[in-house]
Symmetry: C2
Subunit: 307 residues, 2 copies
């Protein structure tokens, strides 16, 4: 059954010229344009990153690739090839696998990333999908988390919060946006928001050895954040959702002030760019409301462990 | 807890010059020597590929990397970098993760492969470990499954069968052997034995559009195959274990007769090379005992699915 399934994928998965040797061998050979690559990996699990009982396999397959593309976007890297590891439930696994690919392949086509190989397994446990994406760095090495300087503006794409209401499955990874911005403006550092605006901004400041102040009234709060407040009936406000929900898969960029001003004047993307605050010399994270600055805890999604 | 664990890895994992940007960013940047790479991925799951209740996490971490190195060996590719995806049980996951790396890192050092990044998760399910390895193809493109020609000899490294008694955890991936042989002899095709000598040889013949005849008395049967017969009390004979057990992680090579003779005369490796038969024009797989040739079913490990 495993062999038939691999044959099925092989027929369905389009061939890309950069894949010299692809599915059906022990490993794939990828032609790159330069002697360097960017690599990132992400695993999604049923019950943690999605619920197979609540969402379609197509949406899961799409998300598994999209989160990796978002990591490439965080580096301003261009997608080249990916490999897909599946751990399928024995019962119904073949159908699930086909539908995962039905969701993954259109996104792969949109972002010109070849599916070069994979590993297909079954077990009695829940669905696990692991994607590793390979890309090419932007000329100049690309963005990374280190490099933000005090005085840099905090520029973000899109809006934040409430992604559980849909965006966590349907988001567009900011790949082309990141490449365009990195080529067109001076950008010191960048990260994508997977675990929360506050947490991921804090991660960027840690690598850049600085701090950051978010101006509360400037944070672009999604319409979904407001809906979350209405639906969930917790004590959280829309701003809290925007700061801490995560899975927005937008970009946070550290941009020198003059370049930031030019960027905001140009608004060169179809998604809005917003200045939400400033990087500062002191380590830490603060939220500024009016003139009042209070420490902001970098909450967000973290995997839990017990002893 | 997740962040502390990533910090722990970051301190323990040695830095390699080829990793321009490693753990702690959204993706890793790898310097390659040529504008091409080989990529392979494998996922191991508790209860399928190992039992966490029966083996040490160190052995599992080692195996997760070793199976990927064996795939690189099958292509005669040289290891460069890998990324490690972990899905850890919430309970005890931190300790397990540290011990997985304690097993993985020494093997990585032996094979000069950098650990460039990963993804660390927890859940209430069993342990899953996914490794993706990146290598450089040998000059000339490297081995693949296609290319065996009728008349080529079937050359194998090492011996086969009974790997469950230990070798499936302790095997040495034939990386240096493959690179040396590919550089020193004309070799038409190759594969590593993960799922069984018969099944993987059959896979090679499928890609090469030919068949193969194994001479029963020439198959190097491991001592463990004999022990399996003694212990398991099934109807299987030592030869059956050698042909079908799998997880030997030895190489099968298709070598033109004169080159095969030279290889066997030289015996250039510390592990024996054995000629076990011949590739033939007719599609299929046969076992020859004395003068009698019977079809050989390509049994071996396949993942199961039900509707």
């Amino acid at each position: 059954m495993e062999l038939q399934l691999i044959d099925y994928f092989r027929q369905r998965i389009p061939q890309y010229p950069c894949v010299r040797l692809g599915i059906g061998d022990d490993a794939a050979i990828i032609d790159l344009d330069i002697p360097q690559c960017v690599v990132t990996t992400d695993i999604l699990m049923d019950g943690v990153d999605f619920r197979l009982s609540e969402v379609t396999p197509e949406a899961i397959g799409r998300k598994a690739l999209a989160v990796n593309l978002s990591d490439l976007a965080a580096m301003a890297a261009s997608p080249k090839a990916c490999v897909v590891g599946l751990v399928l439930p024995e019962k119904g696994g073949v159908e699930i696998a086909k539908r995962l690919y039905d969701g993954l392949l259109p996104l792969a086509r949109d972002f010109q990333i070849a599916v070069a190989g994979g590993d297909t397994n079954s077990w009695e446990g829940p669905l696990v999908i692991s994607v590793t994406a390979i890309g090419l760095p932007s000329p100049g090495g690309g963005l990374c988390r280190a490099g933000a300087k005090p005085g840099d503006r905090i520029i973000v794409t899109g809006d934040f919060g409430g992604s559980l209401l849909g965006k966590h499955l349907t988001f567009t990874p900011r790949v082309w946006e990141a490449i365009y911005l990195y080529r067109s403006y001076e950008i010191h550092a960048g990260i994508d928001v997977s675990d929360g605006l506050a947490l991921d901004l804090w991660r960027l400041t840690v690598e850049s050895r600085c701090g950051a102040v978010i101006q509360a009234e400037k944070v672009p709060i999604s319409e979904a954040s407001h809906r979350m407040v209405a639906q969930v009936k917790s004590r959280m406000k829309p701003l809290d959702h925007a700061l801490h929900d995560g899975e927005d898969f937008e970009l946070i960029l550290a941009v020198p002030p003059a370049e930031a001003a030019r960027m905001l004047r140009d608004q060169p993307l179809s998604v809005p760019l917003t200045d939400i605050g400033e990087f500062v010399p002191d380590r830490g994270l603060w939220l500024e409301k009016g003139k009042k600055r209070t420490p902001l805890e970098p909450k967000g999604y973290q995997h839990k462990f017990s002893l």
